[in-house]
């Protein structure tokens, strides 16, 4: 009834090709195992750091380091070439952005355009602290008004969760 293991059922569905494209992200994020040895440890470290910084242009949210795609391999090779040519990290970054737009970066640039993104957490933290302190000040003023409430059962050393 059910074909046993060993019988390769390689028949594809009619019209399944279209479905395959539409299905759960089927591009396997197979790793890009690239045993590369740059001439100096310093270059090697820079290379490894750089390939983590950039997005693989064709993949769904993978770094150059992790992607098996050919394009990613070529961009990695380009980075190696530029490193060997003595280019700085910033120059390599600019080169790639000028070709693939900021989309290729995983770290949004520090620019006026992105200011809101980088400042958001800081602003929220400042706002939150101000709000918290105002609330606490208001509430602290109320302590002592309701001394009729037993303080005894409010300590952590009693079951008070």
């Amino acid at each position: 009834m059910i074909p046993l293991v060993g019988a390769h059922a390689r028949r594809l569905l009619i019209g399944a090709c279209a479905c395959v494209l539409v299905l759960l992200a089927s591009a396997p994020p197979a790793l890009a195992i690239d045993p590369v040895q740059m001439p100096t440890p310093e270059l090697q470290a820079r290379y490894l750091a750089l390939i983590q910084e950039f997005r693989c242009p064709v993949c769904q949210n993978e770094t150059l380091a992790d992607s098996n795609e050919d394009v990613a391999g070529e961009v990695r090779r380009q980075i190696r070439t530029m490193l060997l040519q003595g280019k700085t990290d910033a120059q390599i970054r600019d080169y790639l952005v000028s070709r693939y737009s900021e989309f290729i970066l995983f770290k949004p640039e520090y620019s006026l355009r992105n200011a809101w993104l980088w400042l958001l957490p800081v602003a929220l933290l400042a706002l939150g602290t101000v709000v918290a302190l105002r609330v606490i000040r208001a509430r602290a003023a109320l302590v002592g008004e309701d001394d009729d409430q037993e303080d005894g059962d409010l300590g952590p050393r009693v079951d008070s969760r």
Partner: protein
Amino acid sequence: MVPELGHFALILAMLLALLQAFFGIAGPALGRDRWVAATLSAVAGQFVMVSTAVGCLILSFVNFDFSVRYVAENSNSALPLFYRIAALWGAHEGSLLLWIMLLACWTLAVAIGTTRLPQRFAARVLGVLGFLSFGFLLFTLVTSNPFLRLEPPAADGIDLNPLLQDPGLATHPPVLYTGYVGLAVAFAFACAAMLEGRTDPAWARWTRPWATAAWTFLTCGITLGARWSYYTLGWGGYWAWDPVENASFMPWLVATALIHSLAVTDKRGLFKSWTLLLAIVGFSMSLVGTFLVRSGVIVSVHSFAADPSRGTAILIFLTIAIGAALGLYAWRAPSLRSNGGFELAARESFLLFNNILLVIAAATVFGGTIAPLIADTLGQGALSVGAPYFKPTFLLPILPLLALLSIGIHANWKRGRLGDSRGALLTTLALACALALAVVLGAYSGRQLLSYVGVALGIWIILSSLVDPIDRWRRKLTLSRAVLGMTLAHIGVAVVVIAISLVESFTVERDIALAPGQSARVGSYDFRLLGVRPVEGPNYSAERGAVVVSRNGRTITTLFPEKREYWVRQQVGTAAGIKNEYGTDLFVALGDDLGAGRWSMRAQVRPLIALLWLGPAVMALGGFCALSDRRYRLARAGAQERAGVGPTERPA
């Protein structure tokens, strides 16, 4: 026949959900107690219908019914039984059905668990849940029906995505979704409270166990996902700040804030509007996460099929649901008054900062995740946000939070009286710093400040959490399950923090190329390739390597990484060889055949990563412990609960 039955059951379920929503909301509002009682019947009916539908789909999978399109797209005649069943939630349509199933289960649980609550309130809760069920069922039937047929039936299926053919598939989605959907319960309680115009904090006490349960499942679900990707994807990463991962993390952050805020509202009647808002926002994050993952608006390795029409439908639904809830909030929250006071160093104060810092963290992650959308709306072109953004911005609110945690545990309610604990706090802090120094410098000879800070904070939290329990144990006092649960959960968090600090800073990773017999040094270990030979699996053929790992000449283990090719989809997958040695993972993944028996591979040494799995396990244990506290035993609930006036006497 079976798929038709399932389809029909789903339609009936939708109608019953609609009835449930109607009776649940209109009944109490119009004072019709018959309708209120009918809500329970609708709940039961919906549960039965949804179960039937799920059962029919499972049956279709098990019986290789390739006339059902969903089965044909996600299964194959060579797919093992285990995966045929798990394939139920392998793609969009089925995972929605899983959502609906879990929502029905939670609803049933709520119906059973609230029999001692005022029935009108309980009916409202069930009504809101019914509305949510109706929305999801409608969406499923109209846009994502799993029972659609193929005419003519397919000869064979195109197999489940090989990435999903892993035990992780059986556990991660169901557990995670249980958490997501569990937040709907807290949302429903909040909506019910607002619909009723309740100003007393009893609803907070009623909501607590549900929120804690949802939080526990979310914790487990996220960890299972991280572990699955770590073991399966071949590169040993456990968290990539991918939008879909963030979509599960944000509800967790908000849920954590929620359970703490509920404690304050329960205990002292404060933070009422905060707690309401958190309950709404928590589930909203679940919904928005669902939207992000299924609408194709973001770039992610995990996202489901992109379909703008589905995206629009989900967006409409979530706008209605969240908009209504927030509208209720704007209406009711102003009338919530409370008259408690507390000092700067009081527990309430610490929990206030807890709320705020967690919300900031969630907002930051959210901002980063939808930043590409925002840039698009503003017409600014491409914006790409990844780990280099999330890491520092997430730490900004979280590091202070971790520090405050150690101190806040010792604060009394209302009047902090931290002076009493000053000695204990300073001692534990000193001890933590010293131990952290020993670990970071001694064991790992690293000089990263951040890893030191992380480890120190983690150890401090553990020591600080243990002060009280140890003190009570010495004085032969009992420790309630709730307090024990809290302690365990905090310790669990600390363990995770320590694990991440160590793994992020001291992982050694190298791509190497080896011929049989050759070895390479990675960290303090030697990896030697014995050879690679072909093997066959149930629905794949693979190349399996044997790699011997040794340290200082002593052999530790042999790893067997595989590079698989799945026949039907002709897709390549990797199965890494991993062995844990005293908490540290030795990891090898096969790369490419370089010819002449030489293979490229990636070798990693990940120190103490076992802690990363242990921590959440302890957290979850804490959660379950707190849930099993005496006060939640149904048998103890008295008539006072039914009347629902004011907080009842606290159990000693």
